[in-house]
Assembly symmetry: C2
Homo-oligomer: 338 residues x 2
């Protein structure tokens, strides 16, 4: 039997008009899977009733009366909104009614609620967020992109284990390679924490490649790139800024005058091919790792296509035993250490 994904249908910038069509598309392309749509019944029922016969019991609605706002303080969402669509979706993972939860809502609230409801896996101190980036060779998983600043070497080691197990589960790689993000100067290889983390990773039994630099992310040098949440956030946001600037410059050059506009029309097929290859929607769906359950965060502005990718990613991770893989790896590592 396939996996059941609990979908927070009210989260994100668009809510049900995006999340429900995405869920239906996911069910169509995954005939073994099931989905539980969580949210306000009056918003979901009309969208679902039309397709009830198509999916039968593979598609269910679970009512949740509240919504976590995008700018709401996480502590507030956690304490005061026990019937929010986000909370109920995660509760379904906790009770085992669903194998994974997906939300495009408030990241901080999703992290706080997931941690509170699901608890951490043994041996993992903090949850991490792993995102997928396109590379010259395919794709790379980078973590942490969450809120883990001031990390210790042990935290970075745990990120390495979780990232490797994520890639093993969703990309079906036996021994994903793990790189530690560092700086290039030969004389001074990183700060103290990173140096220690390198030693821990080398002794971890993981397929540790060694240090990588910022440009290795997009070269695709390793399957996993490990860094603390501060550095990861800067790397990701800097990339977003650069990509936006380059896209703007390209657009401006092609819309300078009627001649360049004509050039754009002629070159459209090649430009479209380019656009597809770097389409961030294909990489949507960041994994919250270290929890006793699969939780995937979609970008808040995701459209239906992008949100569908996040649901599929959650189903893939749950169907391929992500949580068990992390647990086994951590316990094997701790046995060696003991």
């Amino acid at each position: 039997m396939g996996v059941t994904v609990a979908i927070d249908c009210m989260g994100g910038d668009h809510g049900p008009v995006v999340t429900v069509p995405a869920a239906l598309a996911f069910l169509r392309s995954h005939p073994d899977a099931r989905a539980v749509l969580v949210g306000r019944e009056e918003a979901l029922a009309p969208l679902v009733s039309q397709v009830a016969s198509e999916f039968g019991d593979r598609l269910r609605v679970r009512a949740a009366s509240e919504i976590v706002e995008m700018d709401e303080p996480p502590a507030n969402a956690m304490r005061n909104k026990k019937d929010s669509s986000m909370r109920v979706a995660i509760d379904l993972v906790k009770t085992g009614e669903a194998s994974a939860a997906v939300s495009a809502g408030n990241t901080g609230a999703l992290m706080a609620i997931s941690r509170f409801v699901l608890k951490m896996l043994p041996g993992i101190d903090r949850p991490a967020i792993a995102t997928i980036l396109p590379t010259l060779k395919g794709r790379t998983y980078v973590l942490d992109l969450g809120a883990n600043v001031d990390c210790s070497a042990e935290h970075l080691l745990q990120f390495g284990v979780m990232g490797a197990m994520l890639v093993a589960a969703v990309e079906h790689l036996d021994r994903p390679s793990v790189g530690l993000l560092n700086i290039g100067e030969e004389e001074i290889k990183g700060n103290e924490v990173v140096k220690q983390a390198g030693e821990l990773l080398r002794a971890s039994g993981l397929n540790f490649y060694g240090n990588v630099e910022g440009d290795d992310i997009y070269k695709g040098t390793t399957d996993v790139v490990v860094c603390d949440g501060f550095v990861g956030n800067v790397a990701l946001k800097t990339s977003e800024g650069l990509a936006q600037m380059l896209a703007t410059f390209l657009r401006q050059e092609f819309s300078r005058n009627w001649l360049t506009k004509l050039m754009a029309i002629v070159a459209m097929p090649a430009l479209k091919g380019f656009k597809f290859r770097v389409d961030h929607r294909r990489y949507n769906g960041a994994s919250l790792l270290g929890l006793r359950g699969v939780v995937v965060k979609s970008h808040g502005s995701a459209d239906a296509y992008a949100f569908e990718q996040a649901i599929a990613r959650a189903a893939e991770a749950a169907g391929n035993r992500l949580i068990e893989r992390i647990t086994e790896r951590m316990s094997a590592m701790n046995e060696v250490a003991a």
Copy 2:
């Protein structure tokens, strides 16, 4: 009278075939300026003799018998190569024969030798490297990109002062805005050091904008972006990797078949306009800041056009009293604090 720039002609991947033509182009476009070409006489003399009459005493050669290798340990270059072109160029700044030095050589060695020969400015603990990046609005100066890992809040404050004074000198801005690179999560605004640095910058009298995120670099939100050397290195290298990946994808899409190759030919003018706007050669020339003298580091692979930009940048900084500006600002700040 204009400034005199000491040019390490032997450094970089190409040596005199790039550095000498760049120096001559610089002298042609800066009729007030002078240049001292430093390096092996037998390599420089033939290139200079042809143009001696054109420049008169604006162009001189200073012999230096040794060369610092690109992969040489900095400590070795500093101790054992006292007659290297790099060392002699910096010595000329020390003695006042030149107002600035430029090198495309080994970064670590340039940093170590500059620090040893020129010494630090009062109140500055560590030298920093500031680079220029293109933005949607123009350009932004980012520092540190050197080897300053494990920075304190005071170091970040000093970077802010030095970056602002650099922009004041070379971009002729009265009160350049300074941003502190941080992460976006509302709940957890950065690590402890960055939080403290924010407080120091707020009280510094600089035009402090507040926190910026990675994407603000390329948005051009502030004139200066301050971060520690680890984060800065990752941001810069990640940008290089992304830009290379995007360029590769674009090239691949346009060379897929004869039809897309034709598209590329048609679109060439627009693609060239795009290429010019992001041409990193225009931004060549990173400033080594905090020293008692102007030192500019060119990219090792720079061509003559790129190296000329680095020379011009050094001349601009020296001609606009960069060192005095930093000294005055630091002493004003310390008087307030005292």
